[in-house]
């Protein structure tokens, strides 16, 4: 990657999150249009986030849910006393 590419690296978060000044955004887009490595970098960084977000919520295992119900109630009653 050339010197120009490195100058943009610190702005990549804001650029990818769409939180960048329009003039800098246009500058980066013009550069990405000309530089194949930067195009791949931007594209693969976007894919990185997308892939890591996939299947993001794991369901709580039923055995843990059951364990928590009893354990938390017992701990609560130890602190606050028995609930009516």
């Amino acid at each position: 990657m050339g010197k120009k590419c490195l100058e943009y690296i610190n702005d990549l978060n804001d650029y990818l999150d769409g939180e960048i000044e329009p003039s800098l955004c246009a500058e980066i887009e013009a550069h990405v249009g000309e530089c194949n490595n930067c195009r791949i970098m931007v594209d693969t960084l976007r894919q990185t986030v997308k892939l890591c977000r996939e299947g993001k919520e794991e369901k709580l295992p039923e055995s843990l849910e059951n364990k928590l119900n009893g354990m938390l109630k017992a701990h609560w009653e130890k602190k606050f006393g028995k609930q009516s």
């Binding site: 490595n37 894919q47 993001k56 794991e58 928590l68 938390l72 609560w76 609930q83």
Partner: protein, 200 residues
């Protein structure tokens, strides 16, 4: 019943209100802990310990953040304790993750063209892809892993994460970007090994 009312009720000893507060957060906490540790048993311990700590400290919660965000910060402390025994290394500088700036690549005069991923879903089975993604996240040292997951799994803002980890916005932003570059770099190497030759 809204969150603020439930917090007041829970702080005065109402267990049902506490249950309502944690209900929507339990699975999220488990997902975060699982990604953080890569281990189901550790993740279960972290969720249990987090909720016990939340009971112990419920009256200290002042409502300056969402209740879920407060639970995340407790879960991060618990995760840190679980991962403390693991070897923590720092990351290389930013530019080491960019082609042509990596000392190893320069030394070996390797091809400095980045690998274009195409669509990993069309190249790899879903289960294999999930494993590769978790391995890439596992490679991150804790301080990078926590900000990466809070930003992209829990979708917290940079400002919220900065407050949670007691760092400046600039430093948090830089940490998130470094984490993202490292995960990208790891995924890229694996994808190139798995299907790079098939594509060329």
């Amino acid at each position: 019943m809204n969150e603020k009312e439930d917090i007041k009720l829970a702080q005065s000893g109402d267990f049902k209100a506490f249950n309502r507060l944690i209900e929507s957060n339990k699975s999220k906490l488990y997902s975060l802990a699982l990604k953080m540790t890569g281990n189901k048993l550790d993740a279960e311990d972290i969720v249990s310990e987090t909720l016990i700590k939340a009971i112990d400290n419920i009256e200290k919660f002042r409502g300056e953040s969402a209740f879920g965000t407060w639970l995340y910060s407790i879960a991060l402390n618990q995760s840190r304790a679980h991962l403390a025994k693991q070897k923590q290394t720092d990351l290389k500088d930013f530019d080491e993750y960019l082609p042509g700036n990596n000392s190893e690549e320069l030394h070996q005069q390797k091809n400095l063209q980045l690998f274009d991923w195409d669509d990993p879903h069309s190249q790899l089975e879903s289960a294999e892809l999930r494993k590769i993604i978790q391995q890439a996240i596992d490679e991150l040292p804790f301080k990078f892993k926590e900000v990466f997951l809070l930003r992209y799994l829990e979708e917290l803002s940079i400002k919220e994460i900065a407050e949670m980890i007691d760092e400046t916005v600039a430093s948090t932003k830089s940490r998130v970007l470094r984490a993202k570059l490292v995960v990208r770099d790891s995924l890229s190497k694996t994808f190139e090994e798995r299907y790079g030759q098939k594509m060329s």
